[in-house]
Amino acid sequence: MANGSSLFAQNIKTSDKKGGRVEKEEEITKALTFAIGEQVYGVEIPYVLEILGVPKITRVPCAEVPYFIKGIINVRSKVVPVVNMRSCFGKEEIEYNEKTCTIIVALKDITVGLIVDEVLEVLSVMQKNIAKTPDLNNVNENKFIEYILEMQDGIKLILDIKKIIFDHDLMLSLA
C-alpha cells in the first residue's frame, strides 16, 4: 500500500484551461488518457476510482487464470485483480518502471486494476472530436475501443470498460 502512492497530482495536467467556457457546453464527459507503447488510450473518468503505482502483486497460482491477469492487489483493504494492458492487447510485457501505473476502474460491483505504461492527462471529450469508428477489425485492440477521439495532438482510443471487465474470451482471442 505504501508504494502505491497516488501519482495523480504529479503526472496529470488537466486540459480544462485550454477548453474555455464556450466549448464547455459541448463536453460530454472527461477521459483519463494513458500510453501503451506509442499508442494513446483513454478511459472515461466516471469509471476511474484512483491511480496507483505498481503495488505488490500477489499471483493467483491457478492454471485456469489467463496470463494477462497478473494477480491480486490490496487497494485499501479491498482485494482487486490487476490486468496488464500490454499483454491484454497482445503486446510484449515490459518491466515495470517508475512511470508504470495501475488505474483502478470499476463497473457496478466489479473493480479491476489496469497496468499501463504511463498515465498522461485528463481531457474533455467533445462531440466534435469523436470520430466514427472506422472498420478496423483486423487491428486487435480495436475490438476494445468504444470510440476514437481526434485531438490536435493525435488520436486517442477510448476503451470500452464493459468489454475489459466482462469479455475475457475476447481478451483471450487476442493472444
Binding site: R59, C62, E64, P66, I72, N74, V79, T111
Partner: protein, 711 residues
C-alpha cells in the same frame, strides 16, 4: 398518490418489508389451518388483520390494484368469519388465497425492482375471489361490489352506533408541513384503537381519498372514541405523545356532536338497503374479537377471557416492536467490513516490525486490552448477522404443499434443527437450492403410487425431512426423503447416453454414480414436469451452494431413500490460520486441518514409483505434496531438509505439504477472490480465498479438501 413519489422511497422499503412479512405469516397460518382442516376463530381474525393491514398500507402507498386485491381477500374472510360453521368444503379457499398471496408477492417484487413499476391486472383472480365469496354465501348475499361503499357503510354504522356514555371527541392538528397527514392520522388511529373503541373519525376515507390530507390540514383530524376501560385520559396522553401532533382539543366528552361528520362526508355514497348490523364495524378494527359483541352495545358483553387474551397479545406485539429493529443489510456488510479492517490494522500496529526488540510493558498491556475488545466487537458483529434457518425451512412447507396437490403424492415435511443459526448472506443464498432439493425429493424421490410404497413396507405417507445441525465451524443441512432412492443402473445408462462418462462403466463405484446426478445436463426423469426435469436443476443447486463456500453431496440407498447433504461454513468471515511461505508467496492454512508440522531428513523420505514421495509417520504412510510444484512457484528450497512439512487432514484424508518455512499463526479475515476471477476454477486448484496480512500484502488461503481432491 398514483405514482411513487420521490419522498416516499424510504416508506416503500418499509412497505415492502412489512408486506412480505405479513404475507409470510399468511402462508404460515394457511398451511397450519389446512393441515387441521378447520379455521379457528383466532386464525380467521389473524388472516383478516393481515389482509386489512396489507390493504391499508397498499392504499397508502397508492397501489390501487393491490389494495383492491387485498380488499377482495378481506371480503372473502369476512364472509367466512360471519358463518364459521357453514364451512364444509374449504379446500378451494386455500388455493384461492395461496394464489392471491403469490400474486401479491410477485407484485411486491415488481415494486422492489429497479424498473419502473407498472401495476398488474388482477382481474382474473379477483373474479375468482368474488366467485369464491359468492359460493360461500350460497348466492344468498352476493358479495358487495363497491368497496368504497362498504367502507362508507362502516362509518355510517359507527356514527349511528355512537352512544353518549363515556364517548369523547377529539380534534387533532398536526405540525405544519409534516406531510402525509392522512397517513399519520391513520397510524394514530390504529394506536388509538389499541386503547379504545373508535366510533367514528373524519375525514372518513383516509386511505383512498386524495384530498384527505388537505382536509386534515384545514379542519384537523377528528376522532370519536370510547375507551375500553373508561379511561379516556390514557388515550389523550397517547395522542399528546404521538409524533408530529401539534395540538389537540377535546370537542365533546359526552355527546356526539361530531358524529354527524362522518355521514356528511359520505353523502354521495348510496346506502345499501339492509346492511348487516354487526358486520361493518368489525371491518375497521385490527383486533376484532372483543369488538364483535361490543359494537351494538358499548358494555363488553362476551366472555371476559377473550379481551384479556387479546390485550396480552397486543402487549406482546408491542414489546416485540420495541426490541427489534430492521437494518439494511448493506449497512451490516459495511460494519462487518470495517471490523475486519480494524482487526487487520490492529495486528499491523501490534506486530509492527519497528517495535521489534523494544521493551514495551504498558504498550503490550494496552494492546492485550485492545485485542480483547476487538475480539468482542467481532463476535458481536458476527452474531448480528446470524439468523436462524427457520425462515427458509418454513418456506418449504409451501413447496411441499403445492407439489402434493399437483403430483397427487401424499407426503409431509418434517423440520428439525430450524433454530440453527447461520450468516444472513448464506441463508439468503440457501433459499433456491433448498427449494430445488425439496422439489426433487417430491418429484423424483418419492414413489409415484402409494401401492408401491406399501408393497415395500413403508408407510403410505412419505416423509421429506429437513435437518440442520452445526458442528465445528460448519452447518450441515440434509434434505432427505424415504422414497425409492437412486437407481444406479439407470443413472449410469443415462450418463453414458449423455456422454458424461469419463472411464469405463465397470470402474465406477456406487458413490461416484450417485454424485453423477449433480453433473450439468443430467436428468433422469424422462418427462419434463413443471417442477423439475429440465436437467438444469441439480448442477445449478451445486453451483449455488459452492458459491457460498459450501459443498453438496448425495447419499442414497436404493429402495430406502435419498439424502442430500449440504455443508456450509458457519460464517465466511474469519478463520484461525497458519501462514507458511513458499518463495515470496504466503499461504494461510486453516489451523483446524493441521495435525502437525515437522522437519525431516532426506533418508526418511520413501520414493514410491507410482505415488511419488511419501513419508512414514507413526506407522502411517502419507504422500507429500510440494506446494511450490503444485502452484508452479519458482522456489530455491527444493530439498526437504531445508523446508518444513505440514501434515494436514480433512474428511479423513491426509497429505503432507512441503513449504519453505512457517511464518506463524494468525487470525485471518477471509475474503473471497474478486468477482472478476469467479469464472476461473480457483477453488478447484485448492485455494478458497485470500486475506490481507498485517503488512498489507495478500496471502492465499489453502482449501485443504480441494487440494487433496486435486492431488
Amino acid at each position: 398518490m398514483s405514482k411513487i413519489e420521490s419522498g416516499m422511497e424510504s416508506m416503500i422499503d418499509m412497505y415492502i418489508f412489512e408486506t412480505n412479512t405479513l404475507l409470510e405469516q399468511l402462508d404460515e397460518i394457511l398451511l397450519k389451518t389446512e393441515e387441521a382442516q378447520t379455521f379457528t376463530e383466532e386464525d380467521i381474525n389473524e388472516i383478516f388483520r393481515i389482509m386489512h393491514t396489507v390493504k391499508g398500507s397498499s392504499a397508502m402507498m397508492g397501489f390501487d390494484e393491490l389494495q383492491y386485491l387485498a380488499h377482495k381477500g378481506e371480503e372473502l374472510f369476512f364472509i367466512i368469519r360471519e358463518k364459521p360453521d357453514g364451512l364444509e368444503d374449504v379446500s378451494f379457499i386455500y388455493d384461492l388465497v395461496f394464489r392471491m398471496s403469490d400474486l401479491f408477492k410477485a407484485e411486491v417484487e415488481l415494486i422492489q425492482g429497479e424498473e419502473e413499476y407498472e401495476a398488474t391486472d388482477f382481474s382474473d383472480v379477483i373474479k375468482d375471489l368474488e366467485k369464491g365469496a359468492a359460493m360461500l354465501t350460497d348466492g344468498a348475499h352476493p358479495s358487495p361490489t363497491s368497496e368504497v361503499g362498504t367502507y362508507a357503510d362502516v362509518e355510517k354504522e359507527k356514527a349511528v352506533a355512537c352512544s353518549g356514555e363515556g364517548v369523547m371527541t377529539v380534534r387533532i392538528f398536526f405540525q405544519e408541513g409534516c406531510k402525509m397527514e392522512n397517513l399519520r392520522s391513520f397510524m394514530l388511529l390504529n394506536k388509538i384503537r389499541e386503547e379504545a373503541d373508535v366510533k367514528s373519525f373524519h375525514p372518513a376515507d383516509l386511505e383512498g381519498d386524495p384530498n384527505a390530507s388537505d382536509v386534515i390540514i384545514e379542519e384537523g383530524f377528528t376522532v370519536t372514541f370510547k375507551s375500553e376501560h373508561d379511561d379516556n385520559d390514557s388515550v389523550l396522553k397517547l395522542i399528546e405523545n404521538a409524533i408530529n401532533v401539534e395540538s389537540y382539543e377535546v370537542m365533546d366528552s359526552g355527546g356526539s356532536e361530531k358524529s354527524s361528520a362522518a355521514p356528511s362526508a359520505d353523502d354521495n355514497v348510496p346506502v345499501p338497503a339492509a346492511p348487516e348490523p354487526a358486520a361493518p364495524v368489525i371491518e375497521n378494527v385490527p383486533v376484532p374479537a372483543p369488538v364483535i359483541a361490543k359494537a351494538p352495545a358499548p358494555e363488553p358483553a362476551p366472555a371476559p377471557v377473550t379481551p384479556t387474551a387479546n390485550t396480552n397479545q397486543a402487549a406482546q406485539l408491542n414489546s416485540g416492536k420495541q426490541s427489534i429493529i430492521s437494518v439494511n443489510l448493506a449497512k451490516l456488510d459495511q460494519l462487518h467490513d470495517i471490523v475486519g479492517e480494524i482487526i487487520t490494522t490492529e495486528s499491523m500496529v501490534i506486530s509492527n516490525p519497528e517495535l521489534e526488540g523494544l521493551k514495551l510493558e504498558s504498550f503490550l498491556k494496552s494492546a492485550r486490552e485492545l485485542k480483547k475488545l476487538t475480539d468482542e466487537l467481532q463476535d458481536t458483529v458476527m452474531s448480528i448477522r446470524m439468523v436462524p434457518l427457520a425462515g427458509p425451512f418454513q418456506k418449504m412447507n409451501r413447496i411441499v404443499r403445492d407439489m402434493r396437490m399437483k403430483l397427487g403424492k401424499d407426503a409431509e415435511l418434517k423440520i428439525e434443527g430450524e433454530n440453527t443459526e447461520v450468516d444472513k448472506t448464506i441463508v439468503d443464498s440457501l433459499n433456491d437450492p433448498l427449494m430445488h432439493l425439496v422439489r426433487n425429493c417430491m418429484d423424483h424421490g418419492i414413489e409415484n403410487s402409494v401401492e408401491e410404497r406399501v408393497e415395500k413396507g413403508k408407510p403410505a405417507k412419505a416423509t421429506v425431512t429437513l435437518n440442520a445441525v452445526s458442528s465445528s465451524g460448519e452447518v450441515i443441512i440434509t434434505v432427505s426423503d424415504d422414497g425409492k432412492g437412486i437407481d444406479c443402473e439407470k443413472v449410469l445408462r443415462k450418463a453414458s447416453s449423455n456422454g458424461l462418462l469419463m472411464k469405463p462403466e465397470s470402474e465406477y463405484t456406487e458413490r461416484e454414480i450417485q454424485q453423477m446426478i449433480l453433473l450439468p445436463g443430467f436428468s433422469t426423469n424422462d418427462v419434463v414436469t413443471e417442477f423439475s426435469g429440465r436437467g438444469v436443476g441439480m448442477d445449478v443447486v451445486r453451483d449455488n451452494i459452492e458459491k457460498c463456500g459450501g459443498t453438496l453431496t448425495v447419499e442414497s440407498k436404493q429402495g430406502f431413500g435419498t439424502t442430500f447433504i449440504i455443508k456450509i461454513p458457519l460464517t465466511l468471515a474469519i478463520i484461525q490460520g497458519m501462514e507458511v511461505k513458499v518463495d515470496d508467496t504466503v499461504f494461510a492454512i486453516p489451523i483446524s486441518t493441521i495435525r502437525q508440522s515437522f522437519k525431516v531428513r532426506n533418508d526418511e523420505i520413501i520414493q514410491d514409483t507410482q505415488r511419488g514421495e511419501m513419508i512414514m509417520i507413526r506407522g502411517e504412510c502419507y504422500p507429500i505434496m510440494r506446494l511450490h510444484e503444485k502452484f508452479a512457484i519458482p522456489s530455491e528450497i527444493t530439498d526437504f531438509e531445508d523446508g518444513i512439512l505440514l501434515l494436514v487432514e480433512t474428511d479423513g484424508k491426509s497429505v503432507c505439504l512441503f513449504a519453505d518455512r512457517l511464518i506463524g499463526e494468525q487470525q485471518v479475515v477471509v475474503k473471497p477472490f474478486p468477482q472478476y476471477l469467479s469464472r476461473y476454477n480457483i477453488k478447484g486448484a485448492g485455494l478458497s480465498g485470500c486475506t490481507i496480512m498485517g503488512d498489507g500484502s495478500i496471502s492465499l488461503i489453502i482449501d485443504v479438501a480441494n487440494l487433496i481432491e486435486a492431488y
